[in-house]
Symmetry: C2
Subunit: 360 residues, 2 copies
Amino acid sequence: MTTVGIIGGGQLARMLALAGYPLGLRFLVLDPDPQACAAQLCAHLCAPYDDSKALDELAQRCQVVTYEFENISLEGLKTLATKVPVYPPPAALEESRDRLLEKRLFQSLNIPTPKFIPIDSLEDLRHAPQVLGWPFLVKTRRLGYDGKGQKLIRTAADIEAAWEQLGGQALIGESFVPFQRELSILAVRSPHGQTVFYPISENIHKNGILHMARSRPGDPLTQLAQDYAHKLLVHFDYVGVLALELFEMHGHLLANEMAPRVHNSGHWTIEGAQTSQFENHLRAILDLPLGSTEPVGFAAMVNFIGVLPALSDTLEPPGVHTHVYGKAERPGRKVGHATVRAADEKTLESRLHSLLGLLP
Amino acid sequence: MTTVGIIGGGQLARMLALAGYPLGLRFLVLDPDPQACAAQLCAHLCAPYDDSKALDELAQRCQVVTYEFENISLEGLKTLATKVPVYPPPAALEESRDRLLEKRLFQSLNIPTPKFIPIDSLEDLRHAPQVLGWPFLVKTRRLGYDGKGQKLIRTAADIEAAWEQLGGQALIGESFVPFQRELSILAVRSPHGQTVFYPISENIHKNGILHMARSRPGDPLTQLAQDYAHKLLVHFDYVGVLALELFEMHGHLLANEMAPRVHNSGHWTIEGAQTSQFENHLRAILDLPLGSTEPVGFAAMVNFIGVLPALSDTLEPPGVHTHVYGKAERPGRKVGHATVRAADEKTLESRLHSLLGLLP
């Protein structure tokens, strides 16, 4: 009997568990929230992420530990990794959660990025447009997600306000990329180096939160995206799912950020690929053979943000697969998603259109 | 928040829960076994099936109750049904678990069956071949499953031994059907009468236990099987999944038995149909729109009986989806299954052949 520990008990942990039970696995999630939605179906350690007793218990009860949440104590994670295998490697987490380290890593691996500079003072911010041009983005290096912790600076007049809002913490300036498409690629690697890639996702954000992701099997940029992801896998001697978000600019790709975990832009893999990202993440961290990432038809995913549509509405149309996370509704919160699948792209677009009509 | 109660905490309950969590449902299983495998992922009332306190708690905590196990107290179930909706209707359970009532019901609905007679004495058994011919089967009316509680009688010399083994309980004699195929059809009906059917399953038993089931979309006997199942749905004002097992004899169908629940011969629907039998059972009992039963490629299922093959073996080949139930291995026990899926029948057969080679 193998028990997998998961730090974080949100929807990613929940979907990992749903993918892992059919493999005979058991799950133990660590989450300080007594209402953590994964706890509806997993054993739950209700304690702070850096609680050393809880981390010890995780190490004792689990054969392997993974995480679905990035803002955890790195020290705790590294200590944990001396007692039980922790995947993906903590080093990947360390670099991914600091936008400056992350961009420098991309640069060192010859993965193109938007122009960027560290910003540690109002002075730095005032000089940024000389390097980055106009407009440009200023972001916190840490703790940003879903569009939080960043400002678009259009003119010199925006600088003071942005500093007032974000200053006092480590920042990064990035040139604004007028991209044609936002893409992501999900790669999976197992301890002995078996590597698979999912078809590229084409993503649309709304208010900084992922709104929709479409699988793009056979996209002409597939090979390039795989090459970039592969460099990261090798660099970290990576184990698990890695998501790399990219901008497409005139046939080139610029790396925006990476996430060392299963990723929202890959939720369509549950129905739209032979093996889901969740199952393959588990297979990877348990050193089991990775499953096929071949597409099953054409698929797209739409997030339910803040509120859920009526279940009776989303269960009606053919090809729509509803995923409710068991979380309380709250503005801006991801409370569920639906995958739409079809045998051809035209039917997919029409089904997607109908589904979007059901959203509040 | 909707909680579904399930009487019985085995693999069927487990797979119902795995299908229901993505719909935002919660589950409470009643099972006297502290090791009940569904309890690994569901809330668990550990009490006898006829424990009135436990049944009361089920009624209080659940919005609807279903069952995965047929040998429960009918009185308890009927009392429960006065407090909370119980689906499928207890009447269907009552008739299905007595082979004589069941066969008489089939007869009354003009659903052909093998010849049968009640057997209540050694005298009855001695006279049986005059009606049933040779060879014939004698079975207990109640509590038979997986080939248990039945004997094939080939000659008059077998009669005494069969009586010694099975006599003293209510029995039924049935003529032996030298069938060409064993088939089953799974039908689903919701409270307002929406009805869907899955493609026919072609089943192979070994030692009385289901060994393999293949989906047969477009089988020429589909309409006939649907007609028979439909009569049962209407008769019971049925809600949920109903499985009807049939023998094919020279293009005709003879009803063997029915099961008022999700069914082993429909496990391939998890990967091989747009909506699984488990999800559709839940949709039906919750009066939600039923999902499409369209096939996704060609699919077959192989049971793991007694022992599990190595996970690393079954996860390797493409198109194989492994389901481990989290139960201890024991001879004759269903401990898991694998679904094999392919885009065409030839590939399916070749994948199935490889999978069978992995079984112990």
